[in-house]
Structures are given as C-alpha cells and as structure tokens.
Symmetry: C2
Subunit: 343 residues, 2 copies
DNA sequence: ACCCCGAGTCGAAACGCTTCGACTTTCTTT
DNA sequence: AAAGAAAGTCGAAGCGTTTCGACTCGGGGT
C-alpha cells in the first residue's frame, strides 16, 4: 500500500526518477537505481493499478467474451480460456471475464469506460451478435474463431479446411479408396462455425483424390456414445478402410471401441486420423494421428494481434488461418489387401 | 470517449454536479438531472474506469483464482466460474481471471497493486497454498470450498457432511439396511477436499442408523466408466438394496447402466440417491434423487461476503456451510420384500 | 425581523501515476 | 577551447474522477 511518493522519499529522489527507474524509459544512475530498488523492496511497493490506467494510456487488461452456449464443450473451452490467460500474462496483461449476457453487454460497457485495452472473442458462432458490436466500438477486438460475416474483423483460427484436406490426402496417399467421415453432432453444423467448413473440405478433397466418401455424424443435438458407435459400425459395414474423425474425445473412444469389438486393429485393418481435436489423441486407448486444434496457437496469435492493435498501426483486418501440424501416432497405413478399393 | 467535463459543459453545470447526479450522493434538481442525463446519452458518456478506481476507493473488480488442476472437472468448474461472474455482475462487479501459476502469483500481484477489491478462491485443495497467501495480503479473500487449515479464513461451501448424512438417513427411513456407497476416483480423496468429508459422514450416519455400509470408488486416478460399472456390479452382488452416489455424471450413468442390464428397476429393486452432484440428476436416463452442490448458492454467498468485507466491519472469519436441499425425482422407495435386510 | 436548515450548486483538493520540458553535469567532438 | 550530445535528475502538468467544504437561496420556526 506504499505509494510512489514514499518510495521516492525513502530513496532520496524525486517521484519522476522512481518512475523512470521502474519503467526504464529514461536512464537512471546505477547507484540511484539500487537505492530505489531497495526502497521498493522494503516498502513492498507496487504501482497502483488505477493510477497507472489513468496516467498511462494502458489498462493492461484484455476482456475475454465467452457466451458459454449450451453446446459448448467445457474441456475444450477451458483450454482456450487458459491459453488466452497464459498468453496475455506473458505480455503483462490480465484477463477480465465477460460471460453469459455480459458477453455482449459487457463488451459495450468495457469499451465505453475504458476498462480494457482490447477484447478477445471466444466461442464464436456463425452469426455471432458480437460481430456487429465489434464494428461499433473502437476498442480493438480479435476473434478467436471465424464468424460467417467477418468483413473488416481480425480473426484467428486453425485452417480447418487445410487440416481436413490434409487428413483426406494422407489417407489417399496411403492407398485408401473408400473412407468414412465421422463428424460432430448434427446441431453443431448449425450453431457452430467450423464443422461445416471441415465437412465441405473433406468432401472436396475426397473428390479431388478420386476417393469414395461416406458421411456420418455422432448424434442429433449432442454427441452420444451410442450414435458415435453406430456411425462407426455403419461405415465399417459399408466397407470403408479408413476414418476421418472430426468430433469429441468421447466419440473417438466409441469408434475405437467398435473397431476393437470387431477384432479389427489399427492401422492394419483400419486407418484413423483425427481433425481439429483439442485433446491429446495420443493418450487414447489406441493413439490416433491428428491434425489438432491447438488452443495455444490460436490464443497466442490473438494476443499478439491485440497488442499490435494498440501500437501505431492497427493490424489489417482479415482472417489469420493457422496451418495445421500433423501429429503422427501410427494410426494410418495402407489398407488391408483384401479390402482395398471397391466393396 | 467523452469525459465528465464535456458532459458538464453540455449540461451547463459543473463537473461535481454531474458526478452527484450520476451517483445520487447528493440531491440534484429534477430539471438539472434531466439535462445531465440527456448530455450523458447524447455523448455516450461512461465514467472512466481508471479514474474511478483512483478517486473512489473501489475498483469494482473481484479476482477469481483458479489453478485448474489436472483433475478438475471442467463442466462443474465452468458452472462455478459462471455463477461467480453472474453473482458479481449483479453488484456491478467484474471478474478478473487468475489461472494457472497466476492463481498464486496473480493473487499477490493484484493485492499489491490494488487492481481488485476482493479475491474469490475457487478449486480449493485441502492443503491449498493460497491459504497462507490469503493470510498475508490484506485484500479481503473468500474461499469457495474449505481447505484443511481454514483458521481465520472466510469459507463458503455446501454442507457436505449434512448432505451425506441426509442421504443415508433418507434410505434408512425408507427401510434399507444394506447400502452401497459409490465414491469418486481414489485420487480425489487426496487432492480434493470434500470427498473424504462425505465418506466419513456417510459412514458415521450409517452406523448411527444401524445400517450395513459397503464402499466402492470409481477408479484410481480418474473416473472410468468401467470402474464405476464394476463398483455398482460388486455392490449389487453383495446384496445392497440402495446406492448413495458421490461421483461424476458419467459414473451415475454407468451405475444406471449396470442396474438396467440386470433387469432391475429404480426404485422398485434399487433405490439411488446422489450427493453433491452439480449437474442435473433429473435428466439422467433414470432421474435420480439428489442433494446437489449448487454453484449459484455458494457463489452468491461468496460474493455477498466479499462485498460485506468492503464495508465497515469485515465478516467474521469462519465456515459458512450451506444446508443441502433435497431434490426428489422418485428414485428412492422401500427395498424389495425378498431382499431386505441381510443376505 | 431573526436565524437555521436543507436543497442545490460550485470550486478545488485529492487519488497516484506517467511524461514532458528544462536543468546541470560530464564526456566527446571538432 | 568551444560546442554538442548524452546521462541523470527534477518540477510540474496532466489523466478523469470523487468528495469535501463552502456558498446561495427559500421556507419554516420563533
């Protein structure tokens, strides 16, 4: 609770010298600096946050808006929040949480009262109302996820299309001709943003590679274990030799269970590759190759962009799609001799 | 971005009058008030957060520390965070998120720089390091959860002991004599706080009621579906006529699956009651009676206490244990005639 | 006619910091 | 030896509020 005046007095210098010693914005004599540091330690001084916000033009706070919709996958979401907080902290920023209705009302509020330097948008929906809001306020805003209408916005996300295409092409290269795609719950294709993008991309790449593609989802409104399993069973019955998975970890497990029960093994009998998973597919019962959605990657970049927006020239609006990185666990190989090609 | 000076000019009054009109701390003439309100609307004025913190002695921000340990159950945790944010917002407070290592370092930091008015502690461990920290700083701190050493701390939580006892006594009243307790994963009994309390209380109450009690857990380090199911199977084999569940929603489902597979029905053949669940046990395949852990209840109270701590007299240190409320879904009845009592 | 009180308003002093301009010293350059 | 430049320091001006004390003006009590 000591203030800069007390520190200055204790060190026998003026308050401006203390300020400069701490910020390093002007040179301070080594000896003076030492006395100041000592006074700071002795008094347990820490610059008052409010005063700092007022005097400097920075609050050192980012808002994080997250509506937390019903179908939000909690573990994944938490990874994003955590990744954002960690990334922000690396640059001396704190995270102010705006959830629920505050995701919108709060956004307007903190933009108006200058509580935050920038806003990070999580849990982005295709028709997200925060898009319009972002255009109205002049607090820099970065979307982690891509809404349908993203004109003029700064958005960061995994390049899902590229990831999906790569997954398919990996299977094509391995010699598969008939593959199955197991997507998320049907509802996700409307309320969320990337599932449709993934599915479309898978479809296109399969066509380009001249492969047969069979589609399935893992439930109607939410992923159920049974639906996921049924999807896998149906596809196997239909003679696919490989799966592209784009779904939750539970669904991955269900697919593996079905494969296992049939006495099939991965990758000898069935190849599997996962797209956009944000959990560790290497620690599944059977480790699975993956083109993961890495929260840290998106969030780090989002924070960088937010920071950049505070500088002289704002970053150009537009999509920043992160190239997918393949993680290999040995779940992909050539299809079994007898079951290659057509059924 | 307008400031109070511009509003004052627009309304033709001094800035102090504007301030009083907005805070209501001194009377302002109706006509003057109207002109000020109009100016505020026209200019889109919102008092600057930093200036407010400096001048007033309130920041209108609470810190929420949550280490997010490995075994934290994401959905439950998110409910708590959400409930806290909502409760805080009702009193015009925002939430600053301190996760990961920042749960501790950040606590010290925000206490030192006065960024927050109070600190709310989530995800409390039995030997939580934040306990010591809380004693050192003078920012009011409220624990949502009860650490082992809680001397001098303000803690809020469900009265797990009471809930556990009530669950057992409900079964006793229904006529059961041999019941099974299915707890959380073994690891939870060391890293988390309330599981041991629940188990002890169940044991004591069973003894008091003269019932036979059999114990089981749902895994070693983390809850697995199979372990939960096996636990249920073992207990049924041992002839229990009722279950007290204290575990995750997946484990609830597993228990129900085992019961179902044996052709038994709830509550005719087996009674089930859940303790400390923070999900809706009414929307399980078979709705289950519950003595739930309600995040809103704990978080609302925690926020009230934090607020109180900012007033003249700080709330007295000590535990605030919330009385459990039983939610009935019809999963408890008398034991089947042939299987009552001893095996 | 007097005083007092409350309503209504204003000016100015904090709040604790950052930062600009100016000043003194001490070195380098030419 | 004169002229700069750079280092090092200080005072003071903000930043945008809140809040205290003081002032004015009517209306009631005496």
């Amino acid at each position: 609770m000591a203030n800069i005046t007390e520190v200055a007095a204790a060190a026998g210098v003026s308050i401006s010298t203390v300020s400069y010693a701490l910020s390093g914005k002007r040179p301070v004599a080594p000896d003076t600096r030492r006395r100041i540091e000592m006074a700071v330690r002795d008094l347990g001084y820490s610059p008052n946050a409010g005063a700092r916000m007022l005097a400097g033009r920075r609050t050192q706070i980012f808002a994080l808006t997250e509506p937390l919709r019903r179908d939000t996958h909690a573990p994944t979401h938490m990874s994003f929040v955590l990744a954002t907080a960690v990334a922000a902290r690396r640059h001396d920023y704190d995270i102010l949480l705006l959830t629920d209705e505050q995701a919108q009302a709060g956004m307007r509020r903190v933009a108006a009262n200058g509580l935050v330097d920038a806003i990070l948008v999580l849990d982005v929906a295709p028709d997200d109302p925060r898009v319009e809001l972002a255009r109205q306020i002049d607090t820099p805003t970065v979307f982690i996820g891509v809404p349908d209408d993203n004109e003029g916005l700064v958005c960061v996300d995994l390049d899902f299309e590229a990831a999906a295409a790569e997954a398919v092409s990996v299977l094509a290269d391995a010699g598969h001709h008939r593959i199955g795609f197991i997507g998320q719950a049907d509802a996700a294709y409307e309320t969320s943003n990337f599932p449709p993008r993934v599915r479309r991309s898978v479809r296109e790449e399969a066509e380009r590679c001249g492969m047969e593609l069979l589609l399935a989802t893992t439930g109607t409104t939410r992923t159920t274990r049974e639906a996921a399993r049924r999807a896998a069973a149906d596809l196997l019955d239909a003679g696919v030799t490989a799966f592209v998975l784009h779904c939750l970890d539970e669904a991955h497990a269900s697919v593996l269970a079905e494969v296992d029960e049939r006495g099939l093994s991965v990758p000898e009998d069935v190849s599997i590759i996962s797209v956009g998973a944000s959990f560790d597919t290497g620690s599944l019962a059977t480790p699975i190759d993956s083109l993961p959605l890495v929260p840290e990657a998106s969030c780090d970049l989002a924070v960088e962009l937010a920071l950049e927006a505070l500088g002289d020239q704002r970053p150009e609006p537009g999509l920043r799609l992160l190239a997918p990185t393949r993680v290999v666990h040995g779940s992909v190989s050539t299809p079994p001799a007898g079951r290659t090609g057509t059924v």
